[in-house]
């Protein structure tokens, strides 16, 4: 428990025989250094970038069946499999008197028989700091570090100071190699191509919140 004391400066102004009486009160309160975490999950249209908020408790972020796409943008191979959506996680941390730090770790899950590469090298995450502007305009967005492959999230830390005054967002997508987009894809990623085994590719992103 953190003990936080503050002075409540009170002036009792009384009219008694022409005199002012002044009293100072000290008030103390205990605020626990707790920690909490919650998510708002949004599905984002990859063409229009329109957000659709998902029901509370959504934890399975499925990219659906990927489409063979002629990307034709800087740094991208021509024909690769891409989803029509990507995901945005708004991560609300609460800390009472504490300042929770976020740690993110990825672990590979399933991949089809015969697959060489896992989702870990084909998926990407970009962390951003979002700052509220108004109810009708999007938040101001600042990148935290650079976009990473899932596999490179090994105890990746986002200190509380990185999102001070705002909140943490994670954009989760499939590598397309585009080097000209706002947050360019990492050069060490790989696309899904016709050379990849067909089937299910999964992984787990673990978000950990601790105070101090």
């Amino acid at each position: 428990m953190k003990k936080i004391s503050f002075i409540l400066a009170g002036f009792i102004l009384s009219w008694t025989a022409g005199a002012w009486a002044q009293t100072t009160f000290t008030v103390s309160a205990n605020i626990p250094a707790g920690t909490g975490v919650g998510f708002t999950v949004s599905q984002v249209n990859a063409t229009t970038n329109a957000f659709t908020t998902m029901p509370a408790g959504t934890t399975a972020l499925n990219f659906g069946t990927l489409q063979l796409t002629n990307v034709g943008t800087a740094g991208s191979p021509n024909y690769i499999f891409l989803p029509t959506i990507y995901w945005a996680l708004d991560i609300a941390v609460t800390g009472g008197a504490g300042s929770p730090n976020t740690t993110v770790t990825y672990t590979d899950g399933a991949k089809p028989t015969g697959a060489v590469s896992s989702l870990g090298v084909k998926g990407t995450v970009m962390f951003t700091k979002e700052v509220y502007t108004s109810s009708t305009t999007p938040p101001t967005e600042t990148g935290i570090g650079t976009k990473k492959r899932f596999l490179d999230l090994v105890s990746f830390n986002v200190p509380a100071s990185s999102v001070s005054g705002g909140w943490l967002r994670a954009y989760i997508g499939i590598w397309n190699g585009n080097t000209t987009q706002t947050f360019p894809d990492p050069s060490n990623g790989q696309p899904f191509t016709t050379g990849d085994a067909a089937g299910t590719y999964t992984g787990t992103l673990t978000f950990t919140e601790t105070v101090g």
Binding site: I12, T59, T208
Partner: protein, 266 residues
């Protein structure tokens, strides 16, 4: 009689506002215990479900260690794999439960310290919410967990620390090394001020927060908030190690006519 009462209250609220409410909220994010060899102690934690959905929660222990740049970044590792793990000392109950919407659960823990304790022992009790998994196609599963850090330290702890290697960084800030030579993790609150020769304090500030395990050193940054006029000054760096312990460093500075700062001695 006329009585007028005016109250003025000043307080700061430090809440990081997000778009979602926390679904799991742990009331105590940190347990700090000062213990002697052979001591047994008990306590409890409260976890709340702040959402309208039921949450199935499992509770388990892991070790952790702070890692460079010691800004609070941690590695979480399986229980009993880190030197100084407290995993064998702590038991807790229950280890899994369901939290109804807006419900809460008390978790009791017990700490049994062996015959002697020569340094700090640490670990984290995690509360992890179960999640639905992606079963077909390509996708990722989200897992969320909140942790309560346990700091179990000897009553006769050694908080020996020093501020070393003060350097000028581009005439606009200083850096220094906070070295932990003791036997517990130290999380100092480091403040500084610059004094003129006559003793007048020109500026004050607070350095970045660092989390320094025994035997490690972290860089603290001391920004100069305004330009110094030519003359001689003293930079005083004060690291509050808590419980009345401090590490202090005084550095003599000289500023020439061009505004260039020189460290005279440190």
């Amino acid at each position: 009689m006329i009585v007028r009462i005016v109250f003025l209250a000043f307080f700061a609220c430090g809440v990081i506002a997000g778009e979602a409410q926390a679904q799991l909220y742990l009331e105590n994010g940190k347990v700090v215990l000062a213990v002697s060899g052979g001591e047994h102690t008990n306590g409890s934690l409260i976890i709340r479900n702040t959402s309208a959905d039921q949450a199935d929660v499992k509770v388990y222990w892991e070790d952790f260690k702070y890692k460079p740049p010691y800004d609070g970044s941690k590695d979480f590792l399986p229980a009993s794999t880190v030197t100084g793990s407290a995993s064998q000392w702590v038991t807790f109950y229950p280890q899994s439960f369901s939290l109804p919407p807006f419900g809460q659960q008390k978790i009791d823990y017990s700490v049994a310290v062996p015959g002697s304790i020569d340094k700090g022992h640490y670990g984290v009790l995690f509360f992890e919410k179960s999640s639905l998994a992606v079963t077909n196609g390509e996708g990722v599963n989200l897992v969320t967990r909140v942790g309560c850090l346990f700091f179990i330290e000897p009553t006769d702890k050694n908080k020996n620390a020093a501020i070393e290697n003060v350097k000028l960084e581009g005439n606009e800030s200083f850096s220094a090394s906070f070295a932990n030579h003791g036997n517990i993790i130290i999380i100092p609150r480091t403040t500084y001020y610059i004094m003129q020769e006559g003793g007048l304090v020109l500026l004050r500030g607070e350095a970045n927060k660092v989390y320094v395990p025994p035997g490690a050193a972290a860089t603290i940054e001391i920004p100069l908030k305004k330009k110094l006029s030519p003359g001689r000054y003293t930079l005083v760096v004060n690291a509050d190690l808590q419980e009345g312990d401090v590490a202090v460093k005084e550095i003599s500075l000289a500023v020439d006519a061009s505004g260039q700062i020189t460290i005279v001695n440190s």
